[in-house]
Assembly symmetry: C2
Homo-oligomer: 209 residues x 2
């Protein structure tokens, strides 16, 4: 099985800057990437490509294929899709809550395209059985866009409903979910840095004491 | 099958006050309640109790049993649990994204207690097979608390992983998910009131023009 992970370490996750320094953010995104790679490997995904704009900071202690390109996310992914001829999972690097169960359920769907929505209209995971019959368009309301593209291309769609897989770690509040429901190295890192603050409403992030 | 829905219309959902007036919020919570009741009914739940602190604003055009009590949420629910002797689902009224599939999957689990976490550490749905062997403690980090209570009472736990069922409508950003992924009367209401604003990051709510 094949998966591709778009990845950017340099100045990543600026929306986490209220709670993590630049150096910490770069460390954190690398751990999230490693968690995603581990989950894929344990799920039997044996071909993992990392798409990145710069070789800077790409982890070298794991067996993956690194593709460096200065193209934008959509351009590089669509070029990639034209070059492969087998089912592929496009999975974002900021999804440390994804488990082997999710990967198994997503890759065994009988639909042509499986879409895992992210919070706020994004697309966290796409599983495309025939890359020649799909193209991506990330940013903005990409969940709706990807549903539309599938329809245009006469591809059947499965919308995979998972709280964990829908939780991309973008904002401080997302780290709360990682602390509550997560596993792996990025969770351990977050535990070192943060605690959680219980009040009447939703739990908030606090700095570890 | 039996379900109980804690419900409060009076001055409900204050965190939606930046985008909805008091009157609109009260209208909106009533529609969400109706959506939840419809989903339960369609799923074969034939005994639905509504727990409320005041008869004010409890919908009268639906066949449910209304229990009025001035006790706090935990007190009234724990009293309720002592009085019934069959499996029961405690489901919040602000979950219009819940579908019949969720209800079916939750009620057919072979575990003693099923917990659907909400965002930020909350508990959106609890399905309790033996009410004599569980008690609730909402507010704060209730997801963790409910897992702990199940453990203390030697009840096995199934954590149900669903983006839709985890999305309680509490804050303006949650309405974005209702617009993107919802169904039913509360979605129609939100569509009348709001649009969505597409930018680089997650989609934001905007007022309808």
């Amino acid at each position: 099985m094949r998966a591709v992970i778009p990845y950017k370490k340099e100045n990543a996750k600026s929306r986490l800057s209220p709670v993590l320094t630049l150096g910490e953010r770069e460390e954190f995104v690398e751990l999230m990437l490693k968690d995603v790679i581990n989950t894929l490997s344990k799920s039997g995904v044996d071909k993992i490509d990392i798409l990145t704009t710069s070789i800077y900071g790409v982890v070298d202690d794991i067996e993956t294929n690194v593709i460096v390109s200065e193209l934008g996310l959509n351009e590089v992914l669509n070029k990639y899709l034209t070059k492969i001829s087998e089912p592929v999972m496009i999975i974002m690097a900021d999804l440390p809550l994804v488990t082997t169960r999710h990967v198994r359920e997503i890759t065994t769907s009988d639909k042509d395209v499986t879409i895992v929505p992210g919070k706020g209209g994004g697309t966290n995971i796409l599983y495309i059985k025939d890359p020649a019959r799909f193209h991506v368009k990330y940013y903005g309301s990409s969940f709706r866009t990807h549903c539309d593209i599938a329809k245009e291309m006469s591809q059947s769609v499965y919308v995979y409903d998972s709280f964990l897989a829908s939780t991309d770690i973008d904002e401080p509040q997302d780290i709360v979910e990682l602390l509550l429901h997560g596993h792996g190295m990025s969770k351990d890192y977050a535990k070192q840095k943060f605690g959680i603050e219980v009040s009447e409403g939703r739990i908030k992030l606090s700095h570890a004491v």
